[in-house]
């Protein structure tokens, strides 16, 4: 029976089909509906609830490898914060991330400047750059942000920056926005900062690590959670933006449908084979 030979198919056919299913919707979007889920709404609402003009801590703990998933959510978060006229203090705990995060910040800041909003580096935002030490840095920041990051990404003395005048430690921030690709990231911020310094936090994570953080959402340790590209796309829909995540979701859905079909077919073939083996 030819159907039973499906499990011997050259896997390169599967690669080709996945490739086409991803490529075609990127060229000709289908426009499948994207409905924001509760964790994403909570993320959006937690940021919306902080007072306008607050200074917010944003830790972007990722590197170029995770940019397709986390870049869009970092951009949308920056836009939501700047729409509220918040000042943003950015830190990076991944050594390959500081430059790519800087690029993201400047890209979004340029959008605002083009619209006539004069965002100034060091006044409205600052990228304090990368510091090694993982959890130790988080604890050190609790004793003083400037002592943990004496200089910013561009080598300027942190204490001399206007944005840092009212920033001492975690008590200076109403919210921590964490964009996390793994270790160190959301888990460590919850363990070392949220539970110890009681700083409310929301998190955007890579899809592969998202299931690990749902217990934190249920317990209220996280006020909101964005999971992977789907979470980023839902967030963009809530913000009425059409970014890279939204435009990638048709491709994502088509690839998922095909993989689900492969799993079902694989199980059918496996069960049929087993039955045939038992009866012969």
């Amino acid at each position: 029976m030819r159907f039973l030979e499906l499990d011997r198919i050259d896997r390169r056919w599967i690669f080709l089909v996945v490739g086409l299913l991803v490529l075609i919707p990127l060229l000709w979007p289908i426009g499948l509906p994207i409905v924001p889920t509760t964790p994403v709404r909570q993320y959006h609402d937690a940021i919306a609830a902080i007072p306008d003009g607050s200074t917010v801590l944003m830790s972007c703990d990722y590197d170029p490898a995770s940019t397709p998933e986390l870049g869009p959510m970092a951009e949308t978060s920056l836009r939501q914060l700047w729409d509220k006229r918040c000042k943003i203090v950015v830190t990076v705990l991944w050594n390959g991330g500081a430059a790519v995060v800087d690029q993201t910040i400047e890209h979004v800041a340029d959008e605002y400047r083009a619209r006539g909003v004069p965002l100034k580096d060091g006044v409205d935002y600052v990228n304090l750059g990368y510091k090694s030490g993982n959890e130790a840095v988080m604890v050190l920041m609790g004793q003083g942000i400037a002592s943990a990051f004496p200089r910013d990404q561009h080598g300027r003395v942190t204490t001399q920056l206007p944005i840092m005048r009212n920033v001492t430690d975690y008590s200076s921030f109403p919210l921590l926005v964490n964009i996390s690709a793994g270790y160190p990231g959301t888990k460590e911020w919850v363990q070392q900062v949220n539970s110890r310094f009681h700083l409310p936090m929301v998190s955007g994570t890579t899809a592969v690590s998202t299931p690990e953080f749902f217990p934190y959402l249920q317990s209220g340790q996280l006020r909101g959670l964005l999971g992977g590209m789907a979470g980023a796309a839902e967030y963009e829909v809530l913000r009425k933006e059409r970014g890279a995540a939204t435009s990638g979701m048709d491709a994502q859905s088509m690839a998922h449908l095909f993989i689900a079909l492969c799993i079902v077919l694989g199980n059918v073939v496996h069960r049929t084979r087993r039955k045939e083996g038992a009866s012969s």
Binding site: P68, S195, R196, P211, G220, G228, M229, S247, Q252, H256
Partner: protein, 224 residues
Amino acid sequence: MTISGDFGVWIAALLTLCVFSFLYKDNPLYKFAEHLFVGVSAGYYIALNYWTVVDQYLVVPLRATFDGSLPGGPFDARMQDYRAWLIIPAVLGVLLFTRLFTRLSWMSRWSLAVVMGVYAGLKTTGFAQGDLVAQVQASLIPLWIPGNLWASLNAILFTIGLVTSLLFFFYSREHKGVLGGVSRVGVWFLMISFGAGYGYTVMSRVSLLIGRFQFLLVDWLHVR
């Protein structure tokens, strides 16, 4: 369609295609991209770590401390990062390199002991506060929430899942009878969570592919 004129974009695009060629079969183009990536990454991260960690947080502060350019003396705590105390982590860091010499390698254990001690302390207290206590607290929820049937069903389902999954990992008795039945329910809950985890993993991997295709289409070929 106007193709990008940026040399860097061309390099990235061609290397992406070299890596994709592995999906057909292993070939010299893929090997070239792989070796180039490993070599460049190693060099890049060594340079990055030196300039963003060793130089910024050790060499510069130590130099400024001892060349007399700062007031207050080398051990003045008011100087924040400019403290001569940094000599201690500097020595511990150098000791790590004694692993390269067989007769002196025992000295690197002192540095490792400090690292392990600090992180064991941080991890233990962090886990106890952030996971153990908070999660146990969050698991103690009322099963019946008046006026909210959906939330009540959710709470009951959550509690059944929690108890049966925990009992699955109870190995002091053979999984037979009531314990066997309960732990079988726990297995179902675990399977559903593994399925969700697999789904999210697929999403992550497909996102990477989408990211590369978006780069090729938008940044390189300027298609959209």
